[in-house]
Symmetry: C2
Subunit: 369 residues, 2 copies
Amino acid sequence: MVRMFRLLALVAFAASLSYAQPQGPPPVVSPEVHWNRSATLRIRAPLADEVLLAGSGRFEKQRPLEKGPEGVWAITTEGLPGGIYEYKFVVDGVPTMDPSNPQIKRWAGGSSNYFHIDGIAPQPWDLRNVAHGVVRIEHYVSSATNTVRRYRVYTPPDYDRTTRSYPVLYLLHGSGDSEQEWTEFGRAHLILDNLYDEGKIEPMVVVMPYGHLSAPPDRMDFVKPGTMDTFVADIVENVIPDVESKFRVLIDQRSRAVAGLSMGGLQTLALSTRYPDRFGWAGVFSAGVSNAEQSVPELMADAKRHDRLWNLFWIGCGRDDFLYESAQELDALLTKLGVEHEFVETAGGHDWPIWRDYLGRFTPLLFRE
Amino acid sequence: MVRMFRLLALVAFAASLSYAQPQGPPPVVSPEVHWNRSATLRIRAPLADEVLLAGSGRFEKQRPLEKGPEGVWAITTEGLPGGIYEYKFVVDGVPTMDPSNPQIKRWAGGSSNYFHIDGIAPQPWDLRNVAHGVVRIEHYVSSATNTVRRYRVYTPPDYDRTTRSYPVLYLLHGSGDSEQEWTEFGRAHLILDNLYDEGKIEPMVVVMPYGHLSAPPDRMDFVKPGTMDTFVADIVENVIPDVESKFRVLIDQRSRAVAGLSMGGLQTLALSTRYPDRFGWAGVFSAGVSNAEQSVPELMADAKRHDRLWNLFWIGCGRDDFLYESAQELDALLTKLGVEHEFVETAGGHDWPIWRDYLGRFTPLLFRE
């Protein structure tokens, strides 16, 4: 009797687990990563005429899948370098997430699936058996937006075992992303844990605010008039005071940094140039001179009037990035104005593998004399 | 010149935001929630012969979308009660996520999109301007699985401002989910913030461990032989000691509760019956007598030998749940064995609206004399 119950419930569970899958055929396995670091991606679409693999970086040029038995289309990639790969399918013209892969990168402009390929050597974002910091989800009331908003905070491994105060990096996401992406997808916390374990960074608190004014993100809200002013007000008047009331962080200019990618790079430009007395370090990842609200030359000229300029103004951009020229112009502008800065050009485009890399290049430079 | 840069970069941003969308046509808006609490869902699929709306609960019976101009299919629902609605499309037989909606519920058995409908009255899971607790992402080394694993911890609003110790609820997710779902999708932290604000619960720490042994979750790993033993060992030997070393929690039986949904309900049965001396309160949501490892009657009989049984053994199940009979059997078994318990039957199926509701019913009963 007991055994029968057991069996019944298992069958019922198995049935529920296949809900919304076509009845009958076995589940499709996708992605399947092979010993030689290639991956097979599959989708069942018996009625489709064409299925393409789409994505960013290596998968930017779409590739056709081949139709096999039982209407399952498949493609096997070449062997891939260790890293993260975003993809989706295009089934008869419809962008289609991989129904078999729960690994999803949410994005307001169209979400994707992803998979990891292990490197030959350990990767900077690997989950290792080292001392781990903590990621905290915090709420605060924003007077700038008149709403309750969220940010995430990474505290370094020893934070809860000491009474000391730490320098703080404000780390901003891109358009269409949220305050989750630097950790959920960028693995910022694991990268910092590993760098700290290797003695390569000063221990620091990292604050990851939400960069849009609306939720769910309006895809273009950052180009609307007034948006940058409201965002800057939210950070300066709400986020920073809230952080400084809840966390043991140092509050002097040389202990406060700001960095961001893409839209977050523009926000970094705005924050660092309007408040050079508050941010001693700035990192602009994959963005350039453009600024929806105010011109960068004017802001830079204003900033230069302050006694205290940045200990580091760091710009990184990939040579295949559509904003590469804009980043080059920023580099030229800073040179012309005599503002000390670093401009790092790398391979790659406007994409997450680069931003993981830049975080690992930028943070070791922070909070040193 | 500066204006030109500005314009250029905006155009480039706009272009990048539409990556992986078909060129040309305007973006599709979906979901669109209307004043009368109906929602319109849309997808562009010009070549499709049939597009269906699929989901759980109200959308369990699939509904056809209608094809409109420019190949955009649409459906408008009836006015809906306040709550959360999961859905996806089925395009010519292929389960297809809504490409326009970044709100995604990840699940190893097939992810879905979702949207919220505001209630006429405030809902228990609304983000309100009340004192908020913190959700923390913690790592630990598991000797049971020999891997580094994660759990999430909710600390109540005053946790960081007091030195007192709190009772603790271990809250377990369902099969195919992860340690994220109770907060990301279930909004457990907001439900608890609101209940606390209304004076309806004792302040408590809530620990949300990861319930699968593999990552990404093997859809059926919980029915494999030995899985439950390993999971129980991980909780008792690794998670609980780790929590008790990092958080100010009370460690006596009447200050420790366990609850879970579906697979997490089975895990709750295993933990509470094997360790009645450690868990003073148990909540089984949408699960029943079945247990992949050991029979519930035997476990219950074993448990009854302990001096200290549960202050509360709570079972909740929806009448449309495929495990409803299994939950009824558990109720009958406990009655037969003379174990005091509560059995709550509700409307609904094996679905998240019910689990949000059960959390709000169960937690006010905890840690009272």
